[in-house]
Protein backbone atom coordinates (compact mmCIF):
# COMPACT_ATOMS: atom_id res chain seq x y z
CA UNK A 1 0.00 0.00 0.00
CA UNK A 2 2.96 2.28 0.56
CA UNK A 3 4.19 1.88 -3.00
CA UNK A 4 5.18 5.07 -4.77
CA UNK A 5 6.23 5.65 -8.36
CA UNK A 6 8.66 8.23 -9.71
CA UNK A 7 7.37 10.52 -12.44
CA UNK A 8 8.40 13.77 -14.09
CA UNK A 9 6.40 16.95 -13.61
CA UNK A 10 5.46 18.24 -17.05
CA UNK A 11 2.84 20.85 -16.17
CA UNK A 12 2.16 22.78 -13.02
CA UNK A 13 -0.81 24.94 -12.03
CA UNK A 14 -0.97 25.95 -8.38
CA UNK A 15 -0.92 22.74 -6.33
CA UNK A 16 -2.08 20.65 -9.30
CA UNK A 17 0.40 19.11 -11.73
CA UNK A 18 0.56 16.66 -14.60
CA UNK A 19 3.12 13.88 -14.14
CA UNK A 20 4.64 11.57 -16.74
CA UNK A 21 6.13 8.14 -16.09
CA UNK A 22 7.27 6.24 -19.18
CA UNK A 23 4.68 8.00 -21.32
CA UNK A 24 1.79 7.52 -18.89
CA UNK A 25 0.39 10.85 -17.79
CA UNK A 26 -1.91 11.69 -14.94
CA UNK A 27 -2.99 14.54 -12.75
CA UNK A 28 -1.46 14.73 -9.29
CA UNK A 29 -1.24 17.18 -6.40
CA UNK A 30 2.01 18.76 -5.32
CA UNK A 31 0.60 20.19 -2.09
CA UNK A 32 3.17 18.26 -0.03
CA UNK A 33 6.14 19.28 -2.20
CA UNK A 34 5.46 22.95 -3.04
CA UNK A 35 9.09 23.50 -4.11
CA UNK A 36 8.95 21.30 -7.22
CA UNK A 37 9.17 22.78 -10.70
CA UNK A 38 8.37 21.54 -14.20
CA UNK A 39 11.09 19.06 -15.20
CA UNK A 40 11.65 17.77 -11.63
CA UNK A 41 11.14 14.10 -10.81
CA UNK A 42 8.95 13.26 -7.82
CA UNK A 43 7.81 10.14 -5.99
CA UNK A 44 4.03 9.87 -6.22
CA UNK A 45 1.97 8.05 -3.61
CA UNK A 46 -1.85 7.92 -3.61
CA UNK A 47 -2.07 10.83 -6.04
CA UNK A 48 0.32 13.10 -4.14
CA UNK A 49 3.98 13.88 -4.76
CA UNK A 50 5.76 13.08 -1.47
CA UNK A 51 9.40 13.81 -2.34
CA UNK A 52 11.68 15.10 -5.04
CA UNK A 53 14.08 12.41 -6.27
CA UNK A 54 17.03 12.41 -8.62
CA UNK A 55 17.30 11.12 -12.18
CA UNK A 56 19.26 7.98 -11.12
CA UNK A 57 16.66 6.86 -8.61
CA UNK A 58 13.85 7.26 -11.15
CA UNK A 59 15.85 5.47 -13.87
CA UNK A 60 16.29 2.43 -11.58
CA UNK A 61 12.54 2.11 -11.04
CA UNK A 62 11.59 2.74 -14.66
CA UNK A 63 14.12 0.10 -15.73
CA UNK A 64 12.51 -2.33 -13.29
CA UNK A 65 9.03 -1.57 -14.72
CA UNK A 66 10.34 -2.23 -18.23
CA UNK A 67 11.78 -5.58 -17.11
CA UNK A 68 8.47 -6.53 -15.49
CA UNK A 69 6.55 -5.48 -18.63
CA UNK A 70 8.93 -7.55 -20.79
CA UNK A 71 8.50 -10.56 -18.50
CA UNK A 72 4.73 -10.22 -18.57
CA UNK A 73 4.75 -9.95 -22.39
CA UNK A 74 6.94 -13.04 -22.62
CA UNK A 75 4.66 -14.97 -20.27
CA UNK A 76 1.59 -13.89 -22.24
CA UNK A 77 3.27 -14.90 -25.50
CA UNK A 78 4.01 -18.36 -24.11
CA UNK A 79 0.50 -18.90 -22.79
CA UNK A 80 -1.00 -18.00 -26.19
CA UNK A 81 1.13 -20.55 -28.02
Amino acid sequence: MCLAVPARIIEKDGDKAVADAMGNRWEIRITLTPEVEVGDIVLIHAGYAIAKVDEDEAAKTWELFEQIAAMEAERKGKSEK
Binding site: M1, C2, L3, A4, R29, T31, L32, T33, P34, L43, H45, A46, G47, Y48, I50, A51, V53, D54, D56, E57, K60, T61, E63, L64
Partner: protein
Amino acid sequence: MSIERILTAREQIEAACDKAGRPIQIMEVCGTHTVSLFRHGIRSMLPKSLKMLSGPGCPVCVTDQGMIDVVIELAQRDDCLIATYGDMIRVPGAGGSLETQHRGNVKVVFSSDHALALARKHPDKTVVFVAVGFETTTPPTAVALRQAQAEGLDNFCIICGHKIVVPAMAALLSARNDKIDAFLCPGHVSVIIGADAYTPIVEQFGRPCVVAGFEAGQILEGIARICTQIADQKPQVESVYGAAVKNQGNPVALQLMDEYFETWDGPWRGLGVIPGASLRLKDEFSRFDALKRFGFAEVPTEEPAGCLCGRVLCGLIDPPQCGLFGKKCTPDSPVGPCMVSTEGACSAWFKYGIK
Protein backbone atom coordinates in the same frame (compact mmCIF):
# COMPACT_ATOMS: atom_id res chain seq x y z
CA MET B 1 20.26 -2.35 -10.83
CA SER B 2 23.67 -3.80 -11.12
CA ILE B 3 24.52 -7.40 -10.37
CA GLU B 4 27.78 -6.21 -8.83
CA ARG B 5 25.93 -4.26 -6.17
CA ILE B 6 23.87 -7.31 -5.31
CA LEU B 7 26.90 -9.59 -5.12
CA THR B 8 28.86 -7.10 -3.01
CA ALA B 9 25.96 -6.75 -0.58
CA ARG B 10 25.61 -10.50 -0.37
CA GLU B 11 29.32 -10.91 0.43
CA GLN B 12 29.04 -8.25 3.13
CA ILE B 13 26.05 -10.03 4.64
CA GLU B 14 27.88 -13.36 4.75
CA ALA B 15 31.02 -11.84 6.27
CA ALA B 16 29.01 -9.95 8.91
CA CYS B 17 26.92 -13.00 9.83
CA ASP B 18 30.14 -15.03 10.27
CA LYS B 19 31.62 -12.33 12.42
CA ALA B 20 28.45 -12.02 14.52
CA GLY B 21 28.65 -15.76 15.20
CA ARG B 22 24.99 -16.06 16.19
CA PRO B 23 21.60 -16.26 14.48
CA ILE B 24 20.25 -12.86 13.36
CA GLN B 25 16.58 -12.04 12.94
CA ILE B 26 15.60 -8.89 11.10
CA MET B 27 12.05 -7.61 10.95
CA GLU B 28 11.02 -5.96 7.69
CA VAL B 29 8.39 -3.58 9.02
CA CYS B 30 6.78 -2.79 5.69
CA GLY B 31 4.43 -5.03 3.71
CA THR B 32 5.85 -3.75 0.43
CA HIS B 33 9.27 -5.02 1.58
CA THR B 34 7.71 -8.40 2.46
CA VAL B 35 6.41 -8.78 -1.09
CA SER B 36 9.65 -7.51 -2.62
CA LEU B 37 11.75 -9.98 -0.57
CA PHE B 38 9.70 -12.86 -1.95
CA ARG B 39 9.35 -11.56 -5.50
CA HIS B 40 13.08 -11.07 -5.93
CA GLY B 41 13.90 -14.38 -4.24
CA ILE B 42 16.00 -12.54 -1.66
CA ARG B 43 15.17 -14.91 1.20
CA SER B 44 16.86 -17.77 -0.64
CA MET B 45 20.02 -15.67 -1.11
CA LEU B 46 20.55 -15.11 2.61
CA PRO B 47 22.77 -17.19 4.93
CA LYS B 48 20.97 -19.85 6.98
CA SER B 49 21.74 -18.01 10.22
CA LEU B 50 19.83 -14.94 8.99
CA LYS B 51 16.06 -14.84 9.14
CA MET B 52 13.65 -12.17 7.94
CA LEU B 53 10.49 -11.66 10.02
CA SER B 54 7.45 -9.96 8.48
CA GLY B 55 6.26 -7.03 10.57
CA PRO B 56 3.00 -5.16 11.13
CA GLY B 57 3.51 -2.74 8.24
CA CYS B 58 0.51 -3.61 6.10
CA PRO B 59 -2.22 -1.06 6.86
CA VAL B 60 -5.01 -3.38 5.77
CA CYS B 61 -3.75 -6.13 8.06
CA VAL B 62 -3.71 -3.99 11.18
CA THR B 63 -7.04 -2.21 10.65
CA ASP B 64 -9.29 -3.07 13.54
CA GLN B 65 -12.20 -5.34 12.72
CA GLY B 66 -14.58 -3.04 14.61
CA MET B 67 -13.80 -0.29 12.12
CA ILE B 68 -14.45 -2.60 9.16
CA ASP B 69 -17.82 -3.51 10.70
CA VAL B 70 -18.73 0.18 11.05
CA VAL B 71 -17.82 0.83 7.40
CA ILE B 72 -19.92 -2.16 6.29
CA GLU B 73 -22.83 -0.87 8.36
CA LEU B 74 -22.52 2.59 6.75
CA ALA B 75 -22.48 0.90 3.34
CA GLN B 76 -26.05 -0.31 4.06
CA ARG B 77 -27.33 3.27 4.22
CA ASP B 78 -28.90 4.95 1.19
CA ASP B 79 -27.58 8.37 2.20
CA CYS B 80 -23.88 7.29 2.28
CA LEU B 81 -21.19 6.77 -0.32
CA ILE B 82 -18.12 4.89 0.90
CA ALA B 83 -14.84 5.96 -0.73
CA THR B 84 -12.04 3.50 -0.04
CA TYR B 85 -8.63 2.45 -1.28
CA GLY B 86 -9.05 -0.82 -3.18
CA ASP B 87 -7.03 -2.84 -0.65
CA MET B 88 -9.81 -2.60 1.92
CA ILE B 89 -12.80 -3.98 0.10
CA ARG B 90 -12.10 -7.68 0.62
CA VAL B 91 -11.24 -7.54 4.32
CA PRO B 92 -13.72 -9.72 6.21
CA GLY B 93 -15.68 -8.10 9.02
CA ALA B 94 -17.99 -9.96 11.37
CA GLY B 95 -20.65 -10.43 8.68
CA GLY B 96 -18.93 -10.28 5.29
CA SER B 97 -16.74 -7.73 3.52
CA LEU B 98 -17.37 -4.45 1.70
CA GLU B 99 -17.16 -6.44 -1.51
CA THR B 100 -20.05 -8.71 -0.55
CA GLN B 101 -22.12 -6.41 1.67
CA HIS B 102 -22.48 -3.16 -0.26
CA ARG B 103 -25.42 -1.90 -2.32
CA GLY B 104 -23.61 -0.18 -5.16
CA ASN B 105 -22.44 2.67 -2.97
CA VAL B 106 -18.84 1.61 -2.37
CA LYS B 107 -16.41 3.45 -4.64
CA VAL B 108 -12.74 2.56 -4.97
CA VAL B 109 -10.54 5.66 -5.06
CA PHE B 110 -6.82 6.03 -5.71
CA SER B 111 -6.45 9.25 -3.80
CA SER B 112 -8.17 11.29 -1.08
CA ASP B 113 -8.65 13.86 -3.83
CA HIS B 114 -10.97 11.46 -5.67
CA ALA B 115 -13.03 11.04 -2.51
CA LEU B 116 -13.47 14.82 -2.40
CA ALA B 117 -14.52 14.82 -6.05
CA LEU B 118 -17.24 12.31 -5.16
CA ALA B 119 -18.50 14.64 -2.43
CA ARG B 120 -18.70 17.49 -4.94
CA LYS B 121 -20.51 15.32 -7.47
CA HIS B 122 -23.03 13.89 -4.98
CA PRO B 123 -24.16 16.74 -2.72
CA ASP B 124 -27.20 14.69 -1.63
CA LYS B 125 -25.00 11.93 -0.12
CA THR B 126 -22.51 11.88 2.70
CA VAL B 127 -19.17 10.65 1.39
CA VAL B 128 -17.29 8.63 4.01
CA PHE B 129 -13.60 8.29 3.15
CA VAL B 130 -12.03 5.19 4.72
CA ALA B 131 -8.79 6.82 5.84
CA VAL B 132 -6.32 4.01 6.46
CA GLY B 133 -2.57 3.74 6.14
CA PHE B 134 0.55 4.93 7.86
CA GLU B 135 2.40 8.21 7.51
CA THR B 136 2.37 7.91 3.71
CA THR B 137 -1.41 8.20 3.30
CA THR B 138 -2.11 10.42 6.32
CA PRO B 139 -0.87 13.73 4.83
CA PRO B 140 -3.10 13.30 1.73
CA THR B 141 -6.06 12.80 4.07
CA ALA B 142 -5.12 16.03 5.86
CA VAL B 143 -4.97 17.88 2.53
CA ALA B 144 -8.46 16.61 1.67
CA LEU B 145 -9.79 17.79 5.04
CA ARG B 146 -8.26 21.22 4.53
CA GLN B 147 -9.81 21.40 1.06
CA ALA B 148 -13.22 20.28 2.35
CA GLN B 149 -13.02 22.99 4.99
CA ALA B 150 -12.07 25.64 2.42
CA GLU B 151 -14.90 24.65 0.06
CA GLY B 152 -17.46 24.12 2.82
CA LEU B 153 -18.02 20.52 1.66
CA ASP B 154 -20.17 19.48 4.61
CA ASN B 155 -21.03 16.12 3.06
CA PHE B 156 -17.44 14.87 3.34
CA CYS B 157 -16.18 12.99 6.38
CA ILE B 158 -13.65 10.30 7.24
CA ILE B 159 -13.46 7.20 9.34
CA CYS B 160 -9.96 7.45 10.69
CA GLY B 161 -7.82 4.32 10.85
CA HIS B 162 -4.47 6.05 10.32
CA LYS B 163 -1.57 4.65 12.31
CA ILE B 164 2.03 5.55 12.97
CA VAL B 165 4.94 3.18 12.74
CA VAL B 166 7.59 4.03 15.33
CA PRO B 167 5.45 3.53 18.49
CA ALA B 168 4.40 0.13 17.10
CA MET B 169 8.06 -0.86 16.65
CA ALA B 170 8.74 0.22 20.23
CA ALA B 171 5.73 -1.78 21.45
CA LEU B 172 6.99 -4.92 19.72
CA LEU B 173 10.30 -4.59 21.55
CA SER B 174 8.71 -3.57 24.86
CA ALA B 175 6.71 -6.80 24.82
CA ARG B 176 10.09 -8.47 25.49
CA ASN B 177 10.09 -9.78 21.96
CA ASP B 178 13.69 -10.89 21.88
CA LYS B 179 13.26 -12.42 18.44
CA ILE B 180 13.78 -9.05 16.74
CA ASP B 181 17.46 -8.06 16.47
CA ALA B 182 16.99 -5.16 14.05
CA PHE B 183 14.53 -3.37 11.79
CA LEU B 184 14.60 -2.89 8.04
CA CYS B 185 12.63 0.37 8.04
CA PRO B 186 9.96 1.26 5.46
CA GLY B 187 11.13 3.39 2.53
CA HIS B 188 8.15 5.60 1.84
CA VAL B 189 6.97 6.07 5.41
CA SER B 190 10.53 7.28 6.02
CA VAL B 191 10.22 9.79 3.16
CA ILE B 192 7.57 11.47 5.33
CA ILE B 193 8.88 10.96 8.88
CA GLY B 194 12.62 11.11 8.12
CA ALA B 195 15.38 8.71 9.16
CA ASP B 196 15.87 10.55 12.47
CA ALA B 197 12.46 9.32 13.62
CA TYR B 198 14.02 5.92 14.40
CA THR B 199 16.63 7.34 16.79
CA PRO B 200 14.52 6.47 19.90
CA ILE B 201 14.45 2.79 18.84
CA VAL B 202 18.24 2.72 18.65
CA GLU B 203 18.70 4.70 21.87
CA GLN B 204 16.14 2.87 23.99
CA PHE B 205 16.47 -0.66 22.68
CA GLY B 206 19.89 -0.81 21.03
CA ARG B 207 18.47 -2.23 17.80
CA PRO B 208 19.85 -1.19 14.39
CA CYS B 209 17.35 0.66 12.14
CA VAL B 210 18.18 0.89 8.45
CA VAL B 211 15.92 2.55 5.87
CA ALA B 212 15.83 0.99 2.39
CA GLY B 213 13.89 1.45 -0.83
CA PHE B 214 12.17 -1.41 -2.60
CA GLU B 215 14.44 -2.69 -5.38
CA ALA B 216 16.48 -5.82 -4.75
CA GLY B 217 19.90 -4.15 -4.62
CA GLN B 218 18.72 -1.64 -2.07
CA ILE B 219 17.04 -4.21 0.16
CA LEU B 220 20.22 -6.32 0.17
CA GLU B 221 22.34 -3.25 0.89
CA GLY B 222 20.04 -2.41 3.80
CA ILE B 223 20.33 -5.94 5.17
CA ALA B 224 24.12 -5.76 4.74
CA ARG B 225 24.27 -2.53 6.76
CA ILE B 226 22.18 -4.11 9.53
CA CYS B 227 24.33 -7.26 9.70
CA THR B 228 27.51 -5.17 9.78
CA GLN B 229 26.13 -3.06 12.63
CA ILE B 230 25.24 -6.20 14.58
CA ALA B 231 28.67 -7.77 13.93
CA ASP B 232 30.40 -4.57 15.06
CA GLN B 233 27.93 -4.13 17.97
CA LYS B 234 27.30 -0.55 16.87
CA PRO B 235 23.54 -0.11 16.42
CA GLN B 236 22.54 3.11 14.70
CA VAL B 237 20.12 4.70 12.25
CA GLU B 238 21.26 4.48 8.65
CA SER B 239 19.60 5.00 5.28
CA VAL B 240 20.48 3.43 1.95
CA TYR B 241 17.58 5.32 0.36
CA GLY B 242 19.22 8.74 0.40
CA ALA B 243 17.71 9.58 -2.97
CA ALA B 244 14.30 10.11 -1.38
CA VAL B 245 14.71 10.00 2.40
CA LYS B 246 16.00 12.99 4.33
CA ASN B 247 16.90 12.91 8.02
CA GLN B 248 14.08 15.32 8.83
CA GLY B 249 11.47 13.87 6.46
CA ASN B 250 8.94 16.00 4.58
CA PRO B 251 8.24 19.06 6.79
CA VAL B 252 5.11 20.14 4.90
CA ALA B 253 3.54 16.70 5.30
CA LEU B 254 4.49 16.42 8.97
CA GLN B 255 3.07 19.84 9.74
CA LEU B 256 -0.25 18.97 8.05
CA MET B 257 -0.53 15.69 9.97
CA ASP B 258 0.12 17.54 13.18
CA GLU B 259 -2.49 20.16 12.38
CA TYR B 260 -5.39 17.71 11.91
CA PHE B 261 -4.50 14.58 13.88
CA GLU B 262 -3.45 13.57 17.37
CA THR B 263 -2.12 10.25 18.64
CA TRP B 264 -4.17 7.96 20.89
CA ASP B 265 -3.95 4.46 22.32
CA GLY B 266 -5.98 2.71 19.64
CA PRO B 267 -6.42 -0.94 18.66
CA TRP B 268 -4.31 -2.66 16.02
CA ARG B 269 -5.89 -5.76 14.59
CA GLY B 270 -4.22 -8.83 16.00
CA LEU B 271 -1.96 -6.78 18.24
CA GLY B 272 -4.40 -5.10 20.61
CA VAL B 273 -4.06 -1.56 21.92
CA ILE B 274 -0.66 0.04 21.24
CA PRO B 275 0.14 3.20 23.21
CA GLY B 276 0.30 6.29 21.00
CA ALA B 277 0.33 4.36 17.72
CA SER B 278 -3.05 5.38 16.28
CA LEU B 279 -4.22 8.73 14.96
CA ARG B 280 -7.59 10.42 15.37
CA LEU B 281 -8.99 13.79 14.35
CA LYS B 282 -8.34 16.62 16.77
CA ASP B 283 -11.46 17.83 18.61
CA GLU B 284 -11.81 21.00 16.54
CA PHE B 285 -12.27 18.85 13.40
CA SER B 286 -14.73 16.38 14.92
CA ARG B 287 -17.41 17.43 12.43
CA PHE B 288 -15.41 15.45 9.85
CA ASP B 289 -15.45 12.33 12.04
CA ALA B 290 -17.85 9.76 10.58
CA LEU B 291 -18.10 7.92 13.92
CA LYS B 292 -19.40 11.07 15.63
CA ARG B 293 -21.56 12.14 12.70
CA PHE B 294 -23.40 8.81 12.62
CA GLY B 295 -23.35 8.26 16.39
CA PHE B 296 -21.13 5.20 16.68
CA ALA B 297 -19.72 4.51 20.10
CA GLU B 298 -16.56 2.47 20.43
CA VAL B 299 -17.03 -0.93 18.89
CA PRO B 300 -15.84 -4.08 20.66
CA THR B 301 -13.85 -6.37 18.41
CA GLU B 302 -13.59 -10.07 18.18
CA GLU B 303 -10.84 -11.89 16.31
CA PRO B 304 -11.82 -14.85 14.10
CA ALA B 305 -11.41 -18.17 15.95
CA GLY B 306 -8.08 -19.88 15.40
CA CYS B 307 -6.58 -16.91 13.51
CA LEU B 308 -2.97 -16.24 14.52
CA CYS B 309 -2.47 -13.01 12.52
CA GLY B 310 -1.46 -11.24 15.74
CA ARG B 311 1.44 -13.60 16.33
CA VAL B 312 2.45 -13.38 12.67
CA LEU B 313 2.46 -9.57 12.80
CA CYS B 314 4.73 -9.64 15.87
CA GLY B 315 7.21 -11.91 14.11
CA LEU B 316 6.56 -14.65 16.71
CA ILE B 317 5.56 -17.30 14.17
CA ASP B 318 5.80 -17.77 10.39
CA PRO B 319 2.41 -17.97 8.60
CA PRO B 320 2.57 -21.76 7.90
CA GLN B 321 2.67 -22.34 11.66
CA CYS B 322 -0.96 -21.15 11.87
CA GLY B 323 -3.43 -24.06 11.72
CA LEU B 324 -5.70 -22.19 9.29
CA PHE B 325 -2.92 -21.31 6.79
CA GLY B 326 -3.51 -22.79 3.35
CA LYS B 327 -6.46 -24.84 4.63
CA LYS B 328 -9.35 -22.80 5.93
CA CYS B 329 -7.55 -19.53 5.14
CA THR B 330 -6.43 -18.87 1.55
CA PRO B 331 -6.30 -15.72 -0.63
CA ASP B 332 -9.59 -16.79 -2.30
CA SER B 333 -11.30 -17.29 1.02
CA PRO B 334 -9.34 -15.40 3.67
CA VAL B 335 -10.07 -15.62 7.38
CA GLY B 336 -7.46 -13.23 8.73
CA PRO B 337 -6.38 -9.87 7.34
CA CYS B 338 -2.79 -11.01 6.61
CA MET B 339 -4.20 -13.32 3.94
CA VAL B 340 -6.43 -10.63 2.39
CA SER B 341 -4.01 -7.92 1.46
CA THR B 342 -1.54 -8.68 -1.32
CA GLU B 343 1.03 -7.16 1.04
CA GLY B 344 0.04 -9.33 3.98
CA ALA B 345 2.64 -11.78 5.24
CA CYS B 346 0.31 -14.80 4.89
CA SER B 347 -0.69 -13.90 1.34
CA ALA B 348 2.97 -13.46 0.33
CA TRP B 349 3.95 -16.80 1.90
CA PHE B 350 1.00 -18.51 0.21
CA LYS B 351 1.73 -16.99 -3.20
CA TYR B 352 5.48 -17.40 -3.30
CA GLY B 353 5.82 -20.63 -1.37
CA ILE B 354 7.76 -21.49 1.69
CA LYS B 355 11.48 -20.89 1.87
